[in-house]
């Protein structure tokens, strides 16, 4: 109960901070959601409801934006999120094999989270660091020129 209440109040705080940072301006909906997403890890339904109340905006509108952009997530993700670039420049220089190695190592497919909640594995379009493909991002850290053999070592750095 208390954990639930604590989570709820943290969530309301995160929304309040984000909305105030952008002067409760409805035009700033995307940066506001981005901010909440960053501080809370994802956008739970209660957060969207609170944003809609504070910006005096229909919930449908908040929801439509929250589900449109790839950087906003309405689902909880693992403690660490691996974003794997599946675009052509990374694909042709060995990305295909790295993607296979990632799935084998984590025993999940794209879009899934490991049962222990440690890892989420998602595919993304080009990340704009194509000169050093294949590229993957773990949380905020970029790894370039990745080979399948490096995958266990890279993953072992996170706990």
């Amino acid at each position: 109960m208390t954990m639930e209440a604590d989570r709820h109040s943290r969530l309301l705080d995160a929304v309040q901070t984000a909305v105030e940072q952008f002067d409760s301006n409805p035009d700033e909906l995307i940066p506001i959601l981005n901010q909440v997403n960053r501080s809370f890890g994802y956008l739970p339904p209660e957060a969207l409801e609170e944003v809609s109340k504070r910006l005096k905006m229909p919930q449908s509108r908040v929801h439509s934006v929250a589900t449109f952009y790839q950087m906003l997530s309405t689902k909880p993700l693992g403690r660490h999120v691996i974003q794997f670039c599946e675009s052509a420049p990374c694909h042709v220089v060995g990305g295909r094999e790295v993607w296979q190695a990632l799935q084998d190592e984590l025993k999940i497919s794209g879009g899934e989270t490991t049962p222990d909640g440690k890892w989420s594995l998602i595919t993304v379009s080009c990340l704009g660091v194509c000169g050093v493909g294949p590229v993957l991002i773990i949380d905020n850290e970029i790894f370039g020129n990745v080979t399948p053999q490096q995958i266990p070592d890279i993953l072992a750095r996170y706990n």
């Binding site: 959601l33 509108r61 952009y69 790839q70 950087m71 220089v93 379009s125 194509c130």
Partner: protein, 544 residues
């Protein structure tokens, strides 16, 4: 001016300074002088290069070798071995496997000589992007000064028209003409928007300009705003480009403090305010009307056109939308004149083009070359050839909406018109160069998957068409394709091209068309013989 043989940059963020960057720099000066090579080497302190794990960093161009952490005592070896004898010192190099992506902008200089004539990338990688004074020392805001003190808005537009500059976002629309439309449009307020939502796979040129030379975009937007009569501007930067956003915000703040941005700029009566707007991960927002929707805080779904943004753009007002690379050409054009610009490149596509080179070649990275260079030249000269033992098979230009160029077209000049005549597209300037082990079915599958994922879903041809094309290509890759599928793919390409609402859908069929036009035999082998000639496709549906 005598060209420098090498350029050496020393990081000078707080942590680097604490770790002795000043001494390293001083030693570099002394040692190069002692060996008599000081006038052949350009030395600079460049502020925060975005990597703090191995500071101070010493970066040597054109090889783009990164040394770090460099102790003052290491300098002698770097100077004697690398700068004097031309031998890299591997023991002193910073670990390169783990890149902090923040260092990507430094690849601007990789593989090119400092003496190369650059326009868009003139300063990126040379100046400290967080210091407005460094920009000012390199002709910064000189074009703005000239425009505000000597030219009328109409003269500015005429100059841009005369330069022949064409939009670098992919479509190649004449920039001056677009400016003219916005200038003529009636509106209570007008906006200038910089499209910095660079998301075309394989394209990272705008990132390098934004991270390495942010003031050039601010200056260009000021000039554009003066020319079209706008008072407010937005730079829409893709959400993943965090460092670019930081640098732009810093640059805007500095420009405001110095009076380049704000009200009544230098007593000219012209006022301009500029904001950075972050995207949130959606390729479609590179489409200008989707981008405008996104700035307004909505889903990034393209509007129906006409009316065009030039008359009914942001909040319904006349809006000029230009790409980063296009804007970066503006200050030099006004500083040096349209005639100077027109003399570079080809008559119908003047100027330079920035290309990103990737794939199975020896040197990947970024180049800026005059329009009209051929693919063969790019591969031989700038990419230093295919990787050992590999043969060139195809190049994919301009990210996913670009074309798949077969070897037979590698001598076609790369400019808007020559490419259009050959039935292919230049796109955004990404050059993905592939060897004979690349399967066209597999490549087309990846390209179509991109559109399948990134389609906003608003219009049917794009939403359903890309899904269907992906399914058909997957079947072919799995050895269960049928010859009739090829006809269906061609029909899908036609529907996408003719019926889609926006540029995403209209170009999504290009990989299908190119594969069918240039590589049909290879695709048919997958279907008739159940064999992937390159040994890439799984052919899993056929195994038993």
């Amino acid at each position: 001016m005598k060209p420098y043989r090498s350029m050496v940059l020393v990081s000078s963020d707080t942590k680097s300074l604490e770790s002795g960057a000043q001494d390293v720099f001083r030693n570099l000066q002394e040692q190069t002088r002692a060996l008599g090579i000081a006038d052949e080497i350009s030395l600079s302190m460049v502020g925060d290069v975005g990597r703090h794990d191995a500071v101070p960093l010493v970066i040597v161009y054109p090889e783009a070798v990164i040394y770090g952490p460099v102790k003052p005592g290491d300098v002698q070896r770097i100077v004697e071995e690398h700068l004097y004898k031309g031998r890299v010192v591997p023991e002193l190099q910073a670990s390169s496997r783990e890149l902090s992506g923040r260092i990507a902008w430094l690849s601007a200089r990789k593989g090119t000589l400092p003496a190369e004539n650059r326009i868009v990338l003139e300063r990126a990688g040379i100046i400290d992007p967080t210091n407005i004074e460094d920009y000012l020392l390199h002709n910064g805001y000189e074009a703005l000064g000239k425009v505000l003190s000597e030219m009328t808005p109409a003269q500015v537009i005429d100059e841009v028209k005369a330069s022949g500059l064409r939009g670098r976002g992919g479509a190649g629309f004449p920039t001056g003409m677009k400016w003219g439309f916005v200038a003529k449009a009636e509106g209570a307020k007008k906006y200038v928007v910089c499209n910095a939502d660079e998301s075309e796979p394989g394209t990272f040129k705008d990132r390098v300009v934004l991270e390495g030379d942010p003031h050039s975009i601010i200056e260009a937007m000021l000039i554009a705003a003066y020319a079209v009569g706008a008072s407010e501007g937005y730079i829409y930067v893709r959400g993943e480009y965090v460092l670019a956003q930081e640098r732009l915000r810093t640059a805007i703040h500095q420009a405001e403090e110095m009076g380049f941005l704000g009200d009544n700029i230098f007593g000219s009566g012209f006022s301009f305010h500029l904001h950075v707007h972050s995207g949130a991960g959606a390729y479609i927002c590179g489409e200008e009307t989707a981008l405008i929707e996104s700035i307004e805080g909505k889903r990034g779904e393209p509007r129906s056109r006409p009316p065009y943004p030039t008359t009914n753009g942001l909040w319904g007002m006349p809006t000029l939308v230009n790409n980063v690379e296009t804007l970066a050409n503006i200050p030099p054009i006004l500083r040096k004149g349209a005639a100077w610009y027109k003399a570079i490149g080809t008559p119908s596509s003047p100027g330079t083009k920035v290309y990103t080179i990737m794939g199975h070649v020896n040197v990947t990275g970024l180049i800026e070359v005059p329009m009209g260079i051929t693919l063969r030249e790019v591969i031989a000269i700038y990419a230093k050839g295919m990787k050992p033992g590999r043969t060139f098979k195809l190049a994919q230009t301009g990210g996913s909406s670009g074309s798949i160029i077969p070897a037979s077209l590698q001598d076609t000049p790369m400019d808007f018109d020559s490419f259009a005549k050959a039935g292919v597209a230049l796109g955004s300037g990404a050059l993905l160069i592939c060897d004979e082990d690349t399967c066209v079915v597999d490549l087309a599958k990846v390209l179509v998957n991109f559109f399948r994922v990134e389609s906003c879903g608003k219009c049917t041809p794009c939403r359903i068409g890309n899904q269907r094309a992906y399914t058909l290509l997957t079947n072919i890759a799995n050895g269960v394709g049928k010859l009739e599928d090829l006809e269906e793919l061609r029909t899908l390409n036609d529907s996408l091209t003719q019926l889609s609402n926006c540029g995403l859908g209209q170009t999504a069929g290009t990989p299908l068309r190119d594969v069918l036009n240039h590589f049909r035999a290879e695709v048919e082998a997958h279907i008739r013989l159940k064999v992937c000639p390159s040994g890439v496709c799984p052919m899993s549906g056929h195994k038993n």
